[in-house]
Amino acid sequence: MSTTTARGVAKSPAAEGTPPVPRRRGVRGRTLNFWLFTGPFLTGLVIFVYVPIGWSAYLSFFDARYTVTPSEFIGFDNYTYMLTNDKFVESLVTFTVFAALVVPVTWALSLGLALLVNRIRFMQAFFRSVFFLPTAVSFVAASLIWKMSVFSGVRFGLANTVLGWFGVENIAWLADPNPPWYWLVIVTVRLWLQSGFYMILFLAALQNIPPELYEAAAIDGAKPGWQTFRYVTLPQLRATSTAVILLLLVAAYQAFDEFFNLLAKTTWGRPPLVELYYTALGENQDYGAGSAGAMILTLLICVVTLLQGRLMGFGRGEETK
């Protein structure tokens, strides 16, 4: 009963279309409330996101070894040091190779799994759970399984055991960069951990495709299978595909855990964040150079995100919601 009355009052012309504003409170009351709600978050955001970035920008122009309150201004020396530093440049190459491998492979596998699970009728929930389960596992735990068991370079590693049944010699998966088998290890870890996550996104999108489209395509003579997939399913998944590729790329850019753990003590296969870790927190504790590196990476990712958003029309993909 009271609800009906409430609705009636709320629909008075003055309240129409305006946000629910408590009576007897003016602009000042609203401003106060706004800060009450957002204040704690914004304070934290300034202290723990904006201040560090600002401080880091400051440090990047100083000789800041073993100290975070340096006094010697050195201009762009840290930047030129990082950009001419073979290791840092190499880490950017490592990232590029990594992204070129992991992004398309994960995209294809998660889409493939989604297509399979979507078509399956029997035990669908079971299979979906199996593919999704690794999402809960950490990169550290997965790296451990891969390094100590699946791709252990010794005789009793799983891969070497299986290859041994076919008479193949033991392979040092991680300990030898020639040939670079370590990429297989690195890429499969991430594949196992992340495919389920993206499969869920693709599944949701697949279930949103109106069935009439498939009926219409069948009437128009499209053969089930590749033709239907190519001309109906794939275009309908465009927004999700774009989002997935962007997410994969940003995630690859931040790759740290598996490289750090799988390739500890090696000099190859260091992506940018691992390189920065050793620069800033390794023997030298060079916060100046580390900060300059962080600034360069931040700038790069901003440019890439913006470019990608522009090129792929991201943001227009409202259907994914």
């Binding site: 629910p20 504003v21 401003t31 706004f34 401080w55 299979f127 399984i145 949701a204 989002a243 964040l273």
Partner: protein, 278 residues
């Protein structure tokens, strides 16, 4: 003709799905097998599919091992995980609501200031964050592990988007009952959004439990290690005890398997929510 096609088609379908599922389960099998074997069996000449004698004693041995404070690290992870989740939900949901619903002159500018932080992944700024946190004297402390991670622009953004779609009628009813923004939020909005909160909580907890880079940077002191840092230390130890390492892995994954089994509905929902990230 049509039925034959579907039968062969579905045989292939189930075969492909079955093989993929088998491959996805192999790592889990390896954890269980190794965690319950002796080192002699793991490293033996011939592959043993299952341990001859299941070694439940590996579990207690793990917690008695003096080289790595595994029990302590497990406790740290639990505390960090819970505080991280509760704190993030509280701070980010309030901000999301404020941005979505309370009219304020500069609200748009402030929202853009939040959005900008989405372009810079927090992992990339770990050096500056460490600089700040270390000058606050928070290295190897609980505060240092939890507080810097609470202010997620992305979570705030998700809450804002969610509250924009929250039915206004409910809040209007609350307003007629004389509640201000604060009262309406706690009595009407939150109780009617528990599904969304649960979904975000599940995702936040998992990512907190699995986080590695920040706990590694902050946990300089063994007593402040989280379970991920402890696991990582096993890989660089001089002596390798396979059965202990895999028992540790199994124990570290177990809480998440429970989360997964009992909260899967919210987890899937959470993934679908976070997947819209832009």
């Amino acid at each position: 003709m049509r039925t034959r096609r579907t039968t062969t088609g579905s045989t292939g379908l189930y075969l492909a799905t079955g093989i993929a599922a088998f491959l996805f389960l192999v790592p889990f099998y390896l954890i269980v097998r190794n965690a319950l074997s002796t080192d002699a069996e793991i490293t033996g000449e011939n592959w043993k599919f299952f341990p001859t004698d299941i070694q439940w004693g590996n579990f207690t041995e793990l917690f008695d091992d003096p080289t790595v404070p595994f029990g302590q690290s497990l406790w740290n992870s639990a505390v960090v995980g819970v505080l991280h989740t509760l704190g993030t939900l509280l701070v980010c949901s309030l901000a999301g609501y404020g941005l979505a619903r309370i009219p304020y002159r500069h609200a748009n500018k402030i929202f853009y200031a939040v959005l900008v932080t989405l372009m810079v992944p927090t992992a990339v700024t770990f050096v500056p964050s460490f600089v700040l946190v270390s000058s606050l004297g928070w290295v190897s402390t609980l505060r240092g592990l939890v507080i810097p991670g609470l202010f997620s622009g992305f979570t705030c953004f998700l809450f804002r988007q969610y509250f924009l779609g929250f039915p206004r009628e409910l809040e209007e009813a609350a307003r007629v009952d004389g509640l201000g923004y604060w009262g309406a939020y706690w009595r009407i909005v939150v109780p009617n959004s528990l599904n969304f909160f649960a979904a975000i909580a599940t995702i936040t907890f998992i990512s907190g439990w699995n986080a590695f880079l920040w706990p590694l940077v902050i946990g300089q002191d063994q007593q402040a290690w989280t379970v991920q840092v402890a696991l990582s230390s096993y890989m660089t130890n001089q002596t390798v005890n396979f059965h202990l390492i895999f028992m540790a892995t199994a124990v570290s994954i177990l809480p998440l398997v429970f989360v997964f089994l009992f909260l899967q509905r919210w987890l899937v929902q959470g993934v679908a929510q976070t997947g819209i990230k832009g």
